[in-house]
Symmetry: C2
Subunit: 248 residues, 2 copies
């Protein structure tokens, strides 16, 4: 069910709030006009699948609002999330026409899609698009490598603390810059999605969240809303040495 909104198709990229972070960050007015020609918007409801692994990729895209995930699945059903895409993140790979992962909408999602072939042609004549995409891809690779450390070597408790810290800090960076004091934000993932992110079962996720709550590392209002009284304490629990490590 592709809920393409007519309204979005009149949307002007030049005014888009996430444009300065997206793949077209450095495009000038003429280039944005070219992009208008090949772009269209698509909306998805929370839980819908955007692309199945193995599908033909007709487009590449930027996330405009909402959260998408990349997931790999083994034959017997074991699942591992391998990407968490936030507004301004890029989806798809120029030069490849089959999707290597399932892409799903975790929340309601709007994507700005560019028809793949014309986009690839535009990349060739517009080098700074490749350069911007290279930057973004290198950032994703760094995030993937942090994630590998988490998956390979952290305990369940550390994994949960890391995830809360990642989401909390991203949230903080999007909102009040330099804001101090307790962080408060929503976890945009179900327990099951967190488990797929962390390489755990949903029961273990639930138990460890309860444990961190019991120990005063986090507070919960309902199941999704979190307050972190001390970010330092949380980072200590996460086992992070670096304090970089934003995701994606």
């Amino acid at each position: 069910m592709d809920l393409t909104h007519a309204a979005f198709n009149e949307h002007d990229c030049g005014n888009c709030p996430i444009r300065h972070r997206a793949v077209c960050a450095r495009c000038d007015a003429a280039e944005l006009r070219d992009l208008e020609q090949i772009k269209y918007y698509r909306s998805f409801e929370a839980g819908q699948t955007v692309i199945w692994s193995g599908d033909q990729m007709e487009f590449v895209a930027s996330v405009v609002t909402g959260i998408a995930t990349l997931t790999q699945t083994m034959e017997d059903g074991r699942r591992q999330m391998v990407g968490l895409l936030l507004p301004s993140d890029f989806v798809g790979r120029p030069g490849r026409d089959r999707a290597p992962y399932d892409v799903s909408a975790t929340t309601d999602l709007v994507m700005c899609c560019f028809r793949r072939k014309p986009f690839e042609e535009m990349m060739i004549r517009t080098p700074h698009i490749s350069q911007r995409l290279l930057q973004m891809t290198l950032d994703e690779l760094d995030a993937a490598r942090e994630w590998m450390l988490l998956l390979g070597r952290k305990t369940a408790r550390e994994k949960i603390a890391s995830l809360v810290a990642i989401i909390g800090r991203r949230d903080a960076s999007l909102h009040i810059r330099g804001h101090k004091g307790p962080l408060t934000f929503d976890l945009p993932l179900t327990r099951e999605a967190m488990a797929d992110y962390l390489g755990l079962t949903l029961e273990t996720v639930s138990r460890q969240i309860s444990a961190l709550k019991r120990d005063g590392v986090i507070e919960l209002q309902g199941k999704r809303h979190v307050t972190v009284p001390s970010l330092d304490r949380l980072l200590e629990e996460a086992g992070d040495d670096t304090d970089g490590g934003f995701l994606n």
Copy 2:
């Protein structure tokens, strides 16, 4: 101990056997001459550290011969390998001047280094270098995501089978193309390095290798040399649905 070889500094990139896979794959004669100006070779012995995490990066580089690893370490000493670099692979990140990981030589290693600033300037005026690097980085990201599935969801036995398959197929692709029948090759990693790669302990690595041997999935000549009688059988043990998934 930087064993820079004078002989290598007269090496001509245009004749380099790995050039067609490296970052300079599409460079023309004039561009190669420019690269000659900013390049130098460095050699390392097996076990040496090339760069420590946090060090200033004076250069970016291509691996010419040998194998290098990227490793992250937590304060308490837990280690996770996050990259395995083979001949033609690229090291370093344009636009960043601190190394985010330890880089080490797993075997004797020769790298072709480019001074970072001039290389970055050259990237700006030579778009196809960015484009090539983008391709290579996207490939690495795909490899990292396969690796995440391995770390998060595979059993110890599957992890070992996956690693043997990855190394064996890379080896096969470098040597006799389209070669059929039993694969035979060396594992270029110690048991400990395999453990760091797979998120296991070295004891578990050793036990699982013994188990695969006992079950006839692999044969061993000494500790390092492996024969795989049936690649299909090995892939089955690895739990791979895809048969893509080369590393790096």
